[in-house]
Symmetry: C2
C-alpha cells in the first residue's frame, strides 16, 4: 500500500500549521503577559497532538496548560487559572464554556478551533502529581522526546484509520483508543501496518511494557499498555472490549484487502426510503421509546441508556418475547431513543407457571392449595395461567410507571423523564425520520460492523 496520497490528504498543510502556530503563540503570549501583570507564577505549556505534531488536518484541538508550582493550593490554582483563561477568551473574543475534569477548565470556541485552557500543576515526574490532568504534560514530553520524525506519519495513518472505523476517542461515549495510546502503539510497533498486523495476535492477556518496568500492580483490562510515565497506570484502561475487538476485526479486514477507503468516511446514503425498506425486509417488529434527556454531561447519560436498554431486554425475554437486537441513541441535546427489535412479539394467551415436582409432597400440596388450574407434566405440577403481558407494548406501558419501574435497572438521571414523558412509537408514525443523525444511527443499526469493512 502506498500511503503518500492518503497522507497528503490527512496531514496538516504548512498553511494550516502556520495558522495554528499564530493562534497558539498569541494565546500563550496573552496568558503569560497577563500572569506577569497579576504577578502569578505560572508556566504556560502547549500540550496534546499539536505540541506533539501528530494532529490530523482539520481536527486541531488546541490544548494549553497553565501550570502552577506544586506548593500553590488547589483553590488558588482554580481561581487564578480560570481568571487567566477567561481573560484570554476576552482578548480572543471567543465563546467560552466552563468544563470539568479533575478541576474546572475553560473550553473556548474561536475561529472554528476548539481551545482548552486547563489550569494544572507543573510537575516533572508522576510522583509529584496532584490531579489526573497534571499527567498530560508528562505524556506530551514523553512523545516529543521519543517519537521519531518519520513515525509521525504512521501515527497520523493509525489515528485516521481508527477514526474512520469508529474506534478512536477515549471519551466514555466511544470507549475507544486515546491519541496518546496511538502514539505509544507506533513507538512499540514502528509503523501503522505493523500495528495492525500485531494487534491480530493480541491474546486476551496482552501486556505491553515499553519501558520494561517492574510491574507490581495487577490490571484487569483486556489490553494493558503500561504508561511509560507511570508504571501503575494502564493507558488502555478506558478502551472497551468492544472497541478493541472492532479494531482487531477492522485491522484484519484491512490487511487482507487494504484500501484507501478505510481512511475516509464510509459513504452512506441514509435515504429514508432505503431504511424503511430494509426494516420492512427484516420482518421483525421494531419499537422505539423516546424521552427527553436531562441537562447533565452526555458521558453520564450513555451508560444509563445502555443499562436501561439491557434491563428492558432482560425483562422482556423473561416473559418470553424474543429480542433480536436492542440499542440506543441520543442527539446529545434533547432526546434519547431506545430501540427494541423483536423476532417474537405475540404469544399465546396462557403460560405455564412451573411448580414443584409432584414427588415433593409438601411443596406440591402448597402449590395446589394456592393455584386453581394445576396439571401434571413430566413429573412437575404446572399452573396454566393467563399471560399478563401479551405484547411488549403492554409490558412497557406497565413498567414505565412510578410504582413499577423499580423492577428495571434504570439510569437514575433518566428515570423521571421516562416516567413523566416517554413516547412509544414505531418506524411508521413519527417525526423522527426527519432527523439525519437518527437516520445515520439507523443505518449503522441495520448494518452492524459496516465501518469495519470497506
Amino acid at each position: 500500500m502506498i500511503y503518500k496520497d492518503i497522507l497528503k490528504r490527512i496531514k496538516p498543510s504548512q498553511n494550516e500549521k502556520n495558522r495554528i502556530k499564530v493562534i497558539v503563540d498569541k494565546i500563550i503570549k496573552v496568558i503569560e503577559e497577563k500572569a506577569i501583570k497579576e504577578d502569578y507564577e505560572v508556566k504556560v505549556q502547549l500540550t496534546g497532538s499539536i505540541a506533539k505534531d501528530t494532529w490530523l488536518s482539520g481536527s486541531a484541538d488546541i490544548d494549553i496548560f497553565i501550570t502552577f508550582p506544586i506548593d500553590v493550593n488547589v483553590e488558588e490554582l482554580k481561581e487564578k487559572g480560570l481568571k487567566l483563561a477567561y481573560y484570554c477568551n476576552e482578548v480572543l473574543n471567543g465563546i467560552a464554556t466552563e468544563k470539568y475534569a479533575s478541576h474546572p477548565y475553560l473550553k473556548i470556541s474561536f475561529e472554528g478551533y476548539s481551545i482548552d485552557i486547563v489550569p494544572a500543576y507543573y510537575i516533572e515526574k508522576t510522583s509529584q502529581m496532584k490531579s489526573a490532568v497534571d499527567r498530560t504534560t508528562l505524556h506530551t514530553k514523553y512523545i516529543i522526546k521519543n517519537l521519531k520524525n518519520y513515525q509521525k506519519d504512521e501515527v497520523l495513518l493509525l489515528k485516521k484509520f481508527m477514526k474512520e472505523v469508529k474506534v478512536y476517542g477515549s471519551e466514555f461515549k466511544t470507549g475507544g483508543f486515546a491519541g496518546y495510546l496511538c502514539e505509544l502503539l507506533i513507538l512499540k510497533y514502528g509503523s501503522f501496518e505493523n500495528t495492525l498486523k500485531e494487534s491480530s495476535n493480541w491474546t486476551e492477556e496482552t501486556t505491553i511494557n515499553l519501558e520494561n518496568y517492574n510491574i507490581t500492580k495487577s490490571f484487569k483490562d483486556s489490553l494493558i499498555f503500561i504508561d511509560p510515565t507511570d508504571k501503575n497506570r494502564n493507558v488502555a484502561a478506558s478502551l472497551t472490549e468492544e472497541k478493541l475487538n472492532e479494531f482487531i476485526f477492522a485491522s484484519r479486514n484491512y490487511m487482507k484487502n487494504p484500501k484507501e477507503a478505510y481512511f475516509f468516511p464510509l459513504e452512506k446514503r441514509c435515504q429514508i426510503e432505503d431504511i424503511l425498506n430494509q426494516i420492512k425486509d427484516r420482518q421483525t417488529k421494531i419499537i422505539f421509546i423516546s424521552f427527553k434527556i436531562p441537562d447533565i454531561p452526555i458521558d453520564n447519560i450513555y451508560p444509563q441508556l445502555k443499562k436501561t436498554s439491557d434491563s428492558l431486554k432482560e425483562k422482556l425475554e423473561e416473559i418470553e418475547f424474543t429480542i433480536v437486537k436492542n440499542s440506543y441513541w441520543s442527539d446529545e441535546k434533547e432526546i434519547a431513543i431506545l430501540t427494541l427489535e423483536f423476532d417474537t412479539w405475540t404469544l399465546g394467551k396462557y403460560e405455564k407457571n412451573v411448580g414443584p415436582k409432584i414427588r415433593y409432597k409438601k411443596a406440591s400440596e402448597q402449590f395446589t392449595s394456592i393455584h386453581e388450574n394445576v396439571f401434571l407434566e413430566d413429573g412437575f405440577l404446572i399452573e396454566k395461567r393467563e399471560r399478563r403481558f401479551k405484547t411488549p407494548e403492554k409490558f412497557i406501558y406497565h413498567v414505565f410507571k412510578e410504582d413499577n419501574i423499580k423492577i428495571l435497572k434504570i439510569g437514575k438521571n433518566i428515570k423521571d423523564n421516562i416516567i413523566n414523558g416517554y413516547k412509544l412509537f414505531n418506524i411508521n408514525d413519527n417525526e423522527i425520520l426527519k432527523n439525519e443523525m437518527f437516520l445515520d444511527y439507523l443505518d449503522d443499526y441495520l448494518h452492524p460492523s459496516q465501518h469495519l469493512k470497506r
Copy 2:
C-alpha cells in the same frame, strides 16, 4: 367415605358371576375332553382376575391356560395348544384371532366376552419357567392363597379408581398399573385408602418386598415391587414414571376431597363448538399431521408416534419456533395424527449464525472466508443469513421427504406412510372433527390431568 354404594355398582352380581362360571366351566370341559381324546397330557387352568375373583363388573376377561409338562418341547406345545384352542373356538362358535406373547395364543370373542386361551408350561416355581407367560399361573395361585376375602373389595376399588383416572392397564400404550400389581398393593397396604395414602410418600427409590427376599439384583425403575413369586422381577417394571406420577397426583386429590365421581367415567361433552372455542381462546397455532398407520400391533406404533413427535418438536425448536405442547393420537385402525402447538410460529427473515470469537484468529479467518455477511457482536463473529424455514409448515414440507427425513428420529414402521401420504391441516379445514374419538382426545389435550381431578 362409604364405599358400599360404589361397590354395589362395580362388583359383579351373582348373576354375572354365574354366567361367567357357566362359560368357564364349558371351555375347560371342552378342552379337557378334547385333550383326552387326542391323548395330550395337559392341565387346563383358569387364571387372571376371574380365578382370583377380583374382576370389575362388565369387564371380565377370561384367561384360560392350557399347561403342558415341562419336558414337552416348545414346538409341540405350540402346535397342540393352538389345536385345542381352535377346537374350543369351533365348539363355542366364537371369533378367533391369533395373538402373540412369548408364543402364540388365541383370543376368542364370544357373547361379548374376551377369552384368551394360552398354551404354557405347567410349573410350580419360577425356576422351572420356560417362557414369561408360564409365570401367570404362579401369580394366580399366590393371590388366591394370600388375598383375604374382605380385601377383594379393596382391590376392586383400587382397580376402578385407577381405571377412571386412566392409570390402569400394563399394556405398552397405557404403561399403567397391572391388575396383579393392584392386588399386591392391597396385600401390602391392606386397603384402598391406605394404598392411596401411602403412595403419596413413595420416594423416587421405593422398594416393596412383601416376602422379604434377599435382593441381589438392582432395579432402575422408579417404583420397585419385588414379585413374591420371583425375587429377580419387578412387577412394576412396565409402569411408566408418568403413570406413577399421575396416580400419586390423583391419590392426593382424592384423599383431600374424596368423591364417588372418581370411580366413574369423567363427564365430558366434547362438543365440536366448545373445542373450537377453547382452541381459539388459546391464541396459539395448532398444526395436525395425519397419515395411515401400518398393519402391525398398536403397541408397536405408539412408541414410534411419540418418538416422531418429540423429534419434530426438537428440530422445530432448534430453528427457533416455540412449542407449547406436542402430542399424538391414533384411532388404532387406520390413521395416526401428530399434534404440534406453537406459541411462536413466525420469525424474522434473518437469523444469526454465531461463529468463533474474534480473538481466535485462525477460526475467525476461516469463518470470514466462508461467509459473506459477517459482523461483530459481543466479541463473536456473526453471519447474518436468511432463515431457511420461516414457518413450521415449510420445515415440515421439507423434512417429510425421502432425502431429508433422516434428520428426524422417526418410527421405522411409520416412515414410509408419512413420506408417501401425510396430510397437514389445522382445526378449521378437516373432516376429522366428525371422529368422536378424536374429539375425546382433543378434550383431554385441552384439559391436561382432567381425569386426575373430580
